[in-house]
């Protein structure tokens, strides 16, 4: 009776220990988004106003002076990093017409909080947009034990929408 319980416990522990890692290579994500025919990468050099908005969302400056993105018609794709607890979580975002079309956690390096990779979490962002306060127009439910990861991805979603707005505004002007 004790042995199966021990095996179950070890299985659960090993499953959680190896749950992090590379779920999808960033360029494979981009290829998938654009049906294996991705456009050339472009970059945005955030101006001071955009930098301040990003800082307001993240609570710190985004690392780097330029951010790469891929754009086709009204769809933009972004691969962004943000630290959950100790290490960066790499997440891919697809924005269509100012609304989130897809969120996928690509690389998870932390030891806890990997549950955010699952669709039950990422699907909450479908069709989300920014309201006038630069917040998401909906509430994202937390996952207990993964609060910091949830917070990181939610912040990145707002940053991706901000960047999409900036790219489109630049193109219109």
């Amino acid at each position: 009776m004790k042995k199966p319980a021990l095996i179950l416990l070890l299985t659960l522990l090993s499953a959680s220990a190896f749950a992090g890692g590379v779920y999808q290579e960033p360029d494979a994500f981009i290829a998938e988004v654009f049906a294996e025919n991705p456009p050339k990468a472009e970059v945005i050099w955030p101006n001071n106003e955009l930098k301040a908005q990003i800082k307001d969302v993240l609570g710190h400056d985004y690392k780097g002076l330029r951010i790469r993105y891929w754009k086709q018609d009204k769809t933009t794709a972004w691969i962004l990093d943000e630290i959950g607890k100790d290490k960066p979580i790499t997440t891919g975002f697809v924005i269509n017409n100012g609304r989130i079309e897809r969120v996928r956690v690509l690389i998870f390096r932390e030891s806890r909080g990997w549950e955010i990779r699952h669709a039950f979490f990422t699907d909450q962002f479908d069709n989300a947009a920014l309201n006038k306060d630069m917040e998401l127009d909906r509430t994202i439910d937390n996952i207990s034990g993964a609060t910091l990861s949830v917070r990181a991805v939610t912040k990145l979603a707002r940053v991706a929408l901000l960047l999409d707005q900036a790219v489109n505004a630049k193109q219109e002007s």
């Binding site: 960033p26 360029d27 494979a28 050339k40 990468a41 690392k63 990093d81």
Partner: protein, 259 residues
């Protein structure tokens, strides 16, 4: 055969044992305590430790050798996973460093599966994971002022001027990045930067006094020394009092009941 009562003997025995066991820790506590009381006079907060052993114990001594590449008038160094532009830390990496070149618009650093772009002033522009576009990067060079990467295939890729897109080229007229060695002055400045403000003598004495220098359980060891001191005080008092009572009785007996 000592003539003491069993209780008194036990207290005396444990008094002696506690004293012997705690002697080194009590000496450490006493000396560090006295020194810490005179931090200002001894300038403990102004003097820095330069012992490699202690710096290593605190994790302030870098592991591994510095790998440096000249990029124009600047130098890029990776030391113990930290990437430096001259002596300024720019970012961290867990990957192997394969060189750096100064391209027309940016400085490009090559790691196993990542490129890091810096401005000519050393500001971080972008980190570019190569993903499966390139196989493992082996070295980086320059051709027509544009960065060129050699992968393990081997294949040679040259970037466009904005370092957004890569084309396969042939291995011709490529100036590969060469490692350089930092002179003693530059190495000293780099190590100072790596260690931050360094380790003060006061910090070491405080950690020695509290036991934290011995790690997670060090504080409990010092707690035990403090408990031992308390025990020594009580047991010493007990032994002294018992002895005094006994001597009084002895004097009384000698005085009044002498045969």
């Amino acid at each position: 055969m000592t003539g003491r009562k069993p209780t008194q003997f036990t207290v005396f025995l444990w008094h002696r044992r506690a004293g012997l066991a705690a002697i080194i820790l009590v000496i450490i506590l006493a000396i560090t305590g006295i020194m810490l009381n005179h931090t200002k006079a001894l300038k403990l907060d102004e003097n820095y430790v330069d012992s490699s052993l202690l710096l290593g114990w605190y994790g302030l001594e870098p592991e591994g050798e510095a790998i440096s590449y000249d990029v124009g008038e600047h130098v890029i160094t990776v030391l113990d996973h930290l990437v430096f532009f001259n002596s300024y830390p720019v970012t961290r990496t867990e990957q192997g460093f394969h060189g750096a070149v100064k391209a027309e618009q940016l400085i490009v650093l090559a790691f196993d599966a990542e490129l890091v772009l810096l401005t000519h002033d050393g500001e971080l522009v972008e980190r570019m994971p190569t993903g499966h576009s390139f196989s493992e990067i082996k070295r980086i060079g320059i051709k027509y002022k544009r960065p060129v990467i050699e992968t393990s295939d081997p294949l040679y890729y040259m970037a466009d001027e904005h370092i957004l897109d890569w084309d396969v080229i042939i291995n011709e007229d490529i100036a590969w990045a060469d490692k350089t060695t930092l002179n003693d002055t530059k190495m000293t400045v780099l190590l100072e930067s790596f260690r931050g403000r360094g380790l003060t003598q006061e910090r070491v004495l405080l950690d020695l006094h509290s036991g934290r220098i011995f790690g997670e359980y060090g504080t409990y060891v010092m707690d035990a020394a403090a408990v031992a001191l308390l025990w020594l005080s009580c047991s010493g008092l007990w032994v002294w009092w018992r002895r005094r009572v006994r001597q009084k009785k002895k004097h009384h007996f000698q005085k009044h009941h002498r045969l």
